[in-house]
């Protein structure tokens, strides 16, 4: 089934325009804090406080430009230029094509997900949410440990936004998703498993689950990687190397029943475009269409002012404001910031399980990014999201824990932040909250 996307914003909206499209644009700008809100009430995830300007605090946000509703006036154009500049687009003050794409992609929550859908699924899905995977072999270019971590991260991208749990089991255990590296013809007897085509060409393939209640065959869900490719987990990859995390996450999308998407930026697009270690809203829509969405069950947060810095020497300045900590890193440095999350371990006699880590933050430019997100239970690192490289405004960044293990000793989220060159404003990160959702 393919559902055609209904684009909410189209290019061509410019100063002087009036009407519903302008009102929708103003609502959007209000929602993300670029225009003064008519209704100051805001929800938990998508408050109007993004992005934070220099020295912003809630009081300052009250002074955002005030536009005439339904009229593309100067205040609307100014707010739009602010948004464009922040997103790294040309600040034209008009809704041009790149801006329309931004407006249509930058959604919050799941309420309007059907409008985004251009994924395809055909109803293929697993009847269980507890899926097992096995690593049948590995690839010569990467250590087995790194391949294992790459697969965990790829599954975590899908588990973060669904009730699915992915547990690694032994190769002999008959896992639903069996992972194999192979070259050329590699079909087991009696299976329809196409040959790989050597270096270049296709990178991998996977096998859809059945359409319930049709029976599941052994090869369904399996993912095969062409071992004639040079696989890597290093970002950016060397020329001629291919990011295993990205390709694995794409193939696991097929293993779960998703087809290709025509939405720009979706992981489930047909073409590999280099490392992409987060899902696009369209991927999430497709996933949740099959397996249902997730709501926060037992979330625990810590306020951004509680963040701890690992290497003080790499910090140019640190200041705590009313609702966040602003850290300006020294140019071209990396640092780690740590959130210690208050952890409900046993609630009403039942031990909780991990589902995902949550972060709310803003960086001053795309050269300052949250590169890695590591999640700890006590002394055990239970998932590493490596090289996610998230910059800009992140109202709710979500990082799954694929096997959803029991919680024991307390949650810690450590974020590795790389700071580029540039002005102090461009080198800043505003840490607003860190949290964990348990299940």
């Amino acid at each position: 089934m393919a559902t055609k996307a209904k684009e909410r914003f189209t290019a061509g909206l410019a100063p002087g325009a009036r009407g519903e499209d302008v009102t929708a644009l103003q609502d959007y700008l209000e929602h993300f804090g670029y225009l003064a809100a008519e209704d100051p009430e805001h929800d938990t995830f998508c408050g109007p406080s993004y992005p934070l300007g220099d020295g912003d605090d809630l009081a300052v946000l009250e002074d955002r430009p005030d536009a005439d509703a339904g009229s593309f006036d100067d205040a609307t154009a100014e707010a739009l230029r602010h948004l464009q500049a922040y997103a790294g687009l040309r600040p034209t003050g008009e809704v041009d094509e790149p801006t329309a794409q931004l407006l249509n992609s930058k959604r919050c929550g799941n309420a309007d997900q059907s409008e985004l859908a251009e994924f395809s699924t055909s109803g293929r899905k697993w009847a269980t949410n507890n899926l097992r995977y096995s690593l049948e072999n590995t690839t010569p270019n990467i250590t087995t440990g790194a391949v294992t971590m790459a697969m965990q991260q790829a599954f975590a991208m899908w588990s973060a936004h669904s009730p699915l749990r992915f547990t690694q089991v032994a190769a002999s255990a008959g896992a639903e998703i069996r992972i194999r590296f192979a070259t050329g013809a590699h079909a087991a007897t009696g299976t329809n498993d196409p040959a790989f085509d050597g270096p270049g060409g296709v990178l991998a393939h996977a096998f859809y689950p059945s359409v319930p209640p049709a029976p599941v065959t052994a090869i369904m869900g399996d993912a095969h990687f062409d071992d004639a490719e040079t696989w890597t987990v290093t970002v950016p990859p060397q020329a001629g190397h291919t990011d295993l995390v990205t390709v694995a996450a794409h193939e696991f999308g097929h293993s779960l029943g998703l087809g290709h998407s025509s939405v720009n930026g979706a992981l489930m697009q047909a073409f590999y475009g280099g490392p992409q270690r987060t899902l696009h809203a369209d991927d999430i829509s497709g996933l949740q269409h099959l397996y249902g969405g997730v709501t926060l069950r037992h979330a625990a947060w810590i306020h951004g002012t509680g963040v701890q810095v690992e290497v003080d020497d790499n910090v140019e300045s640190i200041r705590r404001y009313g609702f966040y900590t602003r850290i300006i890193g020294k140019p071209n440095t990396t640092n780690w910031y740590h959130f210690a999350i208050p952890t409900p371990v046993i609630v009403a006699g039942s031990r909780l399980n991990w589902h995902r880590a949550l972060l709310r933050f803003v960086t001053g430019s795309t050269s300052t990014v949250v590169r890695d997100v590591h999640v700890y239970d006590g002394s055990s690192r239970i998932i590493a999201h490596q090289a996610v490289n998230l910059g800009g405004s992140n109202a709710m960044a979500v990082f799954g824990v694929p096997h959803k293990p029991p919680v024991y000793w307390g949650a810690g989220i450590s974020i590795g932040v790389t700071t580029g060159a540039g002005t102090a404003s461009e080198r800043r990160i505003d840490l607003i909250s860190g949290g964990v959702d348990f299940t």
Partner: protein, 127 residues
Amino acid sequence: MPRVRVRNDTGAPLTHVAIRVPGTPGPGLQLGPLESGTTSGWATVPVAYAIVGVEVDGDAGPATLQPFDLMDEPPIEHGELTYCLRREGARLSVELESDATTGDGASDDGMSDGWTTDGGTSGDAER
């Protein structure tokens, strides 16, 4: 066997154009250079798909398109396919020309064995 060709709709000349039918071992087909708006000559391939691997170079620098896989891509064993290359900033895209196949299937059933063409040549700017 299907014949394939490429049209340069990137808006700029391409000094190098190569395509590779996914799933087929061996080097790609060299179909360039191609001036802006022009179409390459035909190349006969054992099988084709609606998607194709592409490698180009030009003023805007090199760019590639590499398919992850061939999920849901039926093989096309007859007919003629024109792949149109477009470029938006650094982003290269390829699209099968909509009138290059009959119907929307681009599969065996959708193609006519008697398909005829005037046989485009390099520099052919037909549109």
